[in-house]
């Protein structure tokens, strides 16, 4: 794959030429659009698909009342949650937690790789920035847990922090492995070394395949995605920080969990599963024809499709696997995922070395 043939054209510069206004206004408008038209609807669609999938596994029907085949169930749930009244005053620690979450949301939308056109932040640190968001989310949950006046809250908060630290290490090592192949940590460089065919994806390499599993597993532990979500799972005595959440705060928390899962999946697709590269050479064709809006839209749909499929596969695994204890999960991360991610990194390094010198 010729690196020069792939170029990312910032949509901001495109729109600046068209509208003649300042870039920060365009960036703000664009981020709001991404959040409102991509992330929120994807959340709704994923919520519905996941519930139907879960119902299928359970030999149930699933949502079926709100609209035809229950397609308006996510909307009904959101409206219900937003209408719930809170009965206690907000404390400063709660506001701190909400502040962390909000910071994580609105900043990381900018980093999300949603196609060669829709890349706002494409620096050599791009791949590491989502870690910041994930750790902020974990830190915010920890603060929230510790701010509660209950033993489950305290335990839950500390568990979330322990899980986050355990999951971060194998994930970071996996990113290093991908960066080795790509020659950098920007989204465009990671996409540039992949093609549309699965045989040209990063995971086609056996060491990168190991790194992929380490990345996905580490991310699930870091973000508390089922079935590795022990610190955040529903049963209260498991250290449920969410036991005292309801109404708007509960919907914010649930959305943040979806957001973390979505973000991680998008990054996994970008790094390992062919990114946004369209099949049949469409990316190159549309770029040559300068049909950037169509190119951006198709790339966005393509990467979203792959992301949703990855999320559904992970959800399927969650339906059949029981939940471990938090120390089992952190043990899994430190004693299984971490050594395998290091093996992937070292193995790939040796492989590159052999290719270079032989």
């Amino acid at each position: 794959m010729n690196l020069e043939s792939i170029s990312t054209i910032s949509w901001i510069s495109l729109m600046q030429d068209q509208l003649g206004t300042s870039s920060w206004r365009i960036a703000l408008f664009g981020l709001s659009l991404i959040y409102g038209l991509i992330i929120l609807p994807t959340g709704a669609v994923m919520s519905y698909l996941e519930r139907k999938l879960r119902a299928d596994f359970h030999a149930r029907i699933g949502p079926s009342r709100a609209g035809h085949a229950g397609i308006f169930q996510p909307l009904a749930d959101t409206l219900k949650l937003l209408q719930k009244e809170k009965y206690s005053r907000s404390t400063w620690t709660e506001m701190l937690w909400i502040g962390f979450y909000t910071m994580a949301f609105y900043s990381i939308v900018a980093v999300m790789p949603l196609g060669s056109i829709a890349l706002l932040v494409n620096t050599d640190m791009s791949a590491f920035l989502p870690f910041w968001a994930a750790l902020v989310l974990a830190f915010g949950t920890m603060v929230f847990g510790l701010s509660q006046d209950s033993v489950p809250g305290w335990f839950g908060g500390v568990r979330v922090a322990a899980q986050a630290l355990a999951g971060a290490f194998p994930a970071i090592v996996a990113i290093l492995c991908v960066g080795l192949q790509a020659g950098g940590f920007s989204w465009s460089s990671m996409a540039a070394v992949q093609g549309a065919s699965p045989f040209s994806w990063t995971v086609a390499n056996p060491f990168e395949l190991i790194a992929f599993f380490a990345f996905v597993g580490g991310g699930m532990i870091l973000l508390g995605i089922p079935p590795l979500d022990t610190g955040l799972s529903m049963p209260d005595i498991h250290g449920g920080v969410i036991s005292s959440l309801y109404g708007k705060r509960y919907s914010l928390f649930r959305f943040s969990r979806f957001y973390g899962f979505f973000l991680w999946s998008v990054i996994a697709v970008t790094m390992f599963l062919g990114a946004w590269i369209l099949p049949f050479g469409l990316s190159e064709i549309l770029r040559l024809q300068e049909r950037f809006i169509l190119l951006g839209s198709l790339e966005l749909l393509w990467i979203l499709l792959k992301t949703v499929l990855l999320m559904l596969v992970v959800s399927s695994v969650a339906q059949v696997v029981p939940r471990g204890r938090v120390d089992h999960v952190t043990d899994f991360s430190w004693k299984v995922l971490s050594p395998f991610s290091l093996l992937a990194l070292i193995g790939y390094t040796v492989w590159i070395g052999l290719r270079t010198f032989l």
């Binding site: 879960r54 596994f57 359970h58 030999a59 149930r60 033993v151 335990f155 089922p226 079935p227 022990t230 799972s233 529903m234 049963p235 209260d236 005595i237 498991h238 250290g239 339906q319 059949v320 696997v321 029981p322 939940r323 471990g324 204890r325 938090v326 120390d327 089992h328």
Partner: protein
């Protein structure tokens, strides 16, 4: 002079009182825990929150009403309460139910045992967060509840046994449905094993967790599957057979787990699946051989009386040894009814079992003990 206590020197110790209403608890009870970080260093149990005066209610109502009150001893295994009261009254009165009634009672007992054990599996599945497994088991349990409805008209509080027999004969097609259900459940047991029983994550969660030794079983009088999971072979159906159990050839599963992991939560789970298998075998063999004849010795009216006397009956409920002491003064209602329930013994072992547990394992261990607070508090 102020002398600091051990507790205030130990800065890591937290006291946490949970209950009486809490999602992780099996019913209204209080657990006073002292925690050193995540480890439980001591626990105390307090019950009595669900005391309904059930034993007094027997004394205030007619003999026939006793059947209905007995249903409410254990909501999941209602027939065991009925059976205990009926057998005790029949012993005092010298009533011998006809063979057909005995057979129907046996079938109902074993179906109830299977239903209770499936409910136990649901509780364990929920405790480990395995939702798919719980839904599968609940779906299969519905078939048993349908059988109860077909025979008795009710799903849980059956109110079907009578002094001297049963309320009605088996309906047409009932035996065929029983055999069909047994065949289906046999296949499902294999599915449960594939899905959960030998799953690595489940094994990690349950092996070595909540161990009860043989000595603890004997010290606290624990019976039933919990005792058999710890290697103590004691089953009332073998030691004091009732309701034609002496005519049925069956094997009582006992755990032979040796070493450090005997009597843990996994053993208790596995024993119950094995008991379901045994009950299915018994039903398959026995259901076809119900003797013909009447289903009730004599119909008892509202003025039914049991002659003066007393009786002490033991039966094997799904949770263990259920005893019923019944005293009659020859009047229109019982003079005294007292139950010895298996949960009362299981509650006694909790302070020992929770020591050294991680707090996350507490719901699982409590679920594995199969506690029913309603029968403990009465």
């Amino acid at each position: 002079m102020f002398k600091p206590t051990l507790e205030c020197l130990n800065a890591d110790v937290t006291t946490w009182e949970i209950g009486p209403y809490y999602s992780a608890l099996p019913g209204p009870m209080k657990l006073k825990l002292r925690l050193d970080g995540e480890i439980i260093i001591s626990g105390q149990v307090e019950t009595g929150f669900l005391h309904r005066g059930l034993e007094k209610a027997f004394e205030l109502n007619s003999w026939n009403s006793s059947i209905i009150y007995a249903d409410h001893l254990d909501s999941e295994g209602a027939v065991f309460g009925e059976l205990a009261v009926c057998l005790a009254a029949e012993e005092i009165a010298g009533i011998s139910p006809p063979p057909r009634a005995q057979a129907i009672r046996l079938i109902l007992s074993e179906l109830t045992r299977i239903s209770c054990h499936l409910n136990y599996a649901v509780k364990i599945g929920r405790a480990v967060g395995s939702e798919t497994f719980t839904h599968y088991v609940l779906r299969d349990r519905e078939k048993l509840l349908d059988l109860f409805e077909l025979l008795t008209g009710a799903r849980f509080s059956l109110s079907f046994l009578r002094f001297g027999g049963v309320k009605a004969d088996v309906t047409e097609g009932f035996i065929e449905r029983v055999i069909e259900t047994c065949d289906l459940l046999r296949v499902r047991l294999k599915e449960y094993n594939d899905l959960l029983t030998f799953n690595q994550v489940f094994l990690k969660r349950t092996s070595g967790v909540g161990q009860i030794s043989k000595e603890q079983v004997m010290r606290w009088g624990i019976t039933g599957p919990n005792a058999r999971a710890s290697g103590v072979s004691f089953d009332i159906r073998k030691t004091h057979p009732y309701s034609e159990f002496e005519k049925v050839d069956f094997h009582v599963p006992v755990s032979n787990s040796k070493g450090t992991h005997g009597g843990d939560a996994h053993d208790r789970f596995l024993i119950r699946l094995l008991e379901i298998e045994q009950s299915l075998e018994m039903l398959k063999v026995f259901a076809d051989k119900i003797p013909s004849g009447p289903f009730l010795e004599t119909k008892s009216g509202s003025d039914f009386k049991v002659p003066r006397g007393e009786g002490w009956i033991r039966i094997e409920s799904s949770r263990g040894f259920l005893g019923c002491y019944l005293m009659s003064d020859g009047g229109l209602s019982p003079s005294r009814v007292q139950f010895r329930t298996p949960t009362s013994s299981n509650l006694l072992v909790i302070p020992e079992v929770v020591v050294g547990l991680k707090i996350e394992d507490l719901p699982l261990v409590l679920a594995s003990l199969d506690l029913n607070i309603a029968e403990a508090d009465r």
